[in-house]
Amino acid sequence: MGSYIGRRGLHSVFSLIGLIILVFFLARLTGDPTNLFLPIDASVEAREAFAERHGFNDPLIVQFGRFLEGLTQGDFGESIRQRRPALEVVLEAFPTTLMLAFLSMSVVITSALVIGALAAYRPGGVFDRLSSLFSLSGASAPDFWIAIMAILLFAVALGWLPTSGTGTPWHWVLPVAVLVIRPFGLLVQVVRGAMITALSSAYVKTARAKGVRERVVIFVHALRNAMLPVITVAGDQATAIVNGAVVVETIFGFPGIGKLMIDSVLQRDFAVVQAAVLVTAIAIFLMNILIDIAYAMLDPRIRHN
């Protein structure tokens, strides 16, 4: 198990280093980096001074060395708009996104497991057809549109929930609900497929023959074996949820990393964009390792290999 996780971890480290190189060189290759960091109307003198101060006139490789050195010390540059370290700005926004992702993933996984398992119990039955219709619509839904229609219905027309911002638990209801829809739609299909395979296997027949109760057969014997593909897909969906968070946070005015990124793009605050990208990449990198550990724990073939 140790070597498996070590190997996977090494892969992720490569990806992370690759991303850092990509971000750095893309930013430098697009022309004058002061264009990225400074507002469009900055004067020539201001650009010169900025380039001089940040060493943009040095050879590329020297700049890259300095960039790496900064990263190891947690220095991601300075936010032009807020006049403080970019990392500080990003870390302030990070917990909100993390919470949003955590809540949504919990809802997605539990509901998809239960509904997918029930749908697989009678393939082609009424419940199965209803659930596949709903999951298909869910997987097809443009989340930004669902979000503003939900605001229109629940906040503007009915007045049950707040339109945007944070503060009370009620502020979280709509964002989490919107964020859940698409991954839920995809995951239900995966659970259903895996469960159909599991339910027709020999060990389920054995369990039934032994007289194990049906509920235990489904939720203990079959579901545990159906978990493996589910974890793989859930891991992919976790990166997709960051995509969703960008949209949802922007619409609901949530002070998370997604809104921060879009705001920084629109205000052309490159240091923050760069820091947000790298922090998100590191977070995803850590999460992938956690998923690998969960995978190895569930699958004895990997654990004992």
Partner: protein, 312 residues
């Protein structure tokens, strides 16, 4: 003289033309049939919409500002209402279908060609080149596609070409991996070894012998992927970093309508509904194609009588 066993032609089932067979399979699944019909309509709108309705869609009439939908007194063009500048929403949706579908189609095609080629090389050549290609795909995969698009569109101008490129970039790993996996299996088959023994060059083996086997799989993946790419484009345009006015896509129309949400809901509602119905139709049809193309599953469609068949 030995008598050859002869086959009486009349005892064979009549040979159906392929497209008739496809049509009759499609007709048996009513959901997929409606989806196909809807997509044909959308394709028609995308091809001819801007030519037929281009002028109407840009004609402003401030007297009609935010005219409410479902009233016929302004004529059928205003059945979905008018936007903040008094333009017909129906005409604008039809005109915008061209950009929306064309951008997604171009991005999918680019991703398929680039990813497919890289996948062929990575699968056949292997070695350090294959490894580098796979690690690059890993980098793209391990990162949220929308953030990647945000960064790239920050550095380059958000023009249509760049939008297509960035959407393609985020989808390349999908085709690359699918293609590589296929190639790894196909290259061990007899006819490839035969070609190699006969002295065919690497490129000839790759593009004349292996590629034709891999392409159908890639096209199946692409039909499924089209909906995903369309949603991604809509989201980017909605966030203001995708397509820029005066060009228009459905995602941008939703963004523009958002400012009038409390007073004129229909501005944001209809274009979003168009996105949703199109992606749903694509998904329904793709799931039908998967069933129809799978010999183990096709009986579900063929034996379906009056009951609507289980489409999975």
């Amino acid at each position: 003289m030995a008598t050859e066993p002869t086959m009486d032609a009349s005892s064979l089932p009549p040979i159906e033309r392929p497209w008739r067979q496809v049509f009759s399979l499609l007709w048996r699944d009513k959901f997929a049939f409606v989806a196909a019909l809807f997509l044909t309509l959308m394709l028609f709108c995308a091809l001819f919409g801007p030519g037929l309705l281009g002028d109407v869609a840009t004609k402003m009439d401030l007297k009609q500002r935010n005219a409410p939908p479902l009233e016929l007194e302004r004529g059928w063009l205003f059945i979905l209402g008018a936007d903040a500048l008094g333009r017909s929403i129906l005409a604008r949706i039809i005109v915008a279908s061209q950009n929306t579908l064309a951008i997604a189609a171009a991005a999918v095609a680019a991703a398929m060609i680039i990813g497919g080629t890289l996948g062929l090389v990575a699968g056949y050549a292997g070695g350090w080149l294959g490894n580098v290609i796979m690690r690059l795909a890993d980098i793209i995969m391990s990162f949220p596609s929308l953030l990647l698009a945000v960064v790239v569109l920050y550095m380059f101008e958000p023009r249509v070409a760049n939008l297509v490129l960035v959407l393609a970039l985020t989808r390349i790993p999908l085709y690359l991996r699918t293609c590589r996996a296929e190639v790894l299996e196909v290259r061990e088959r007899m006819f490839v070894s035969a070609a190699r023994v006969m002295g065919a060059s690497r490129w000839r083996i790759l593009f004349r012998h292996i590629a034709p086997i891999v392409v159908p799989t890639l096209i199946t993946v692409a039909t499924l992927d089209f909906a995903v790419v369309m949603l991604a484009e809509s989201a980017l345009s909605f966030l203001g970093i995708g397509i820029q006015p005066p060009e228009v896509t459905w995602g941008l129309m939703v963004a523009q309508g958002r400012n009038y949400l409390a007073t004129a809901w229909w501005l944001a509602f209809w274009p979003g509904l168009a996105i949703m119905l199109t992606t749903m139709a694509l998904n329904l049809l793709a799931s039908w194609v998967r069933t129809a193309a799978d010999p183990e599953q096709r009986w579900r469609l063929e034996t379906a009588g009056r009951r609507s068949p289980d489409i999975r």
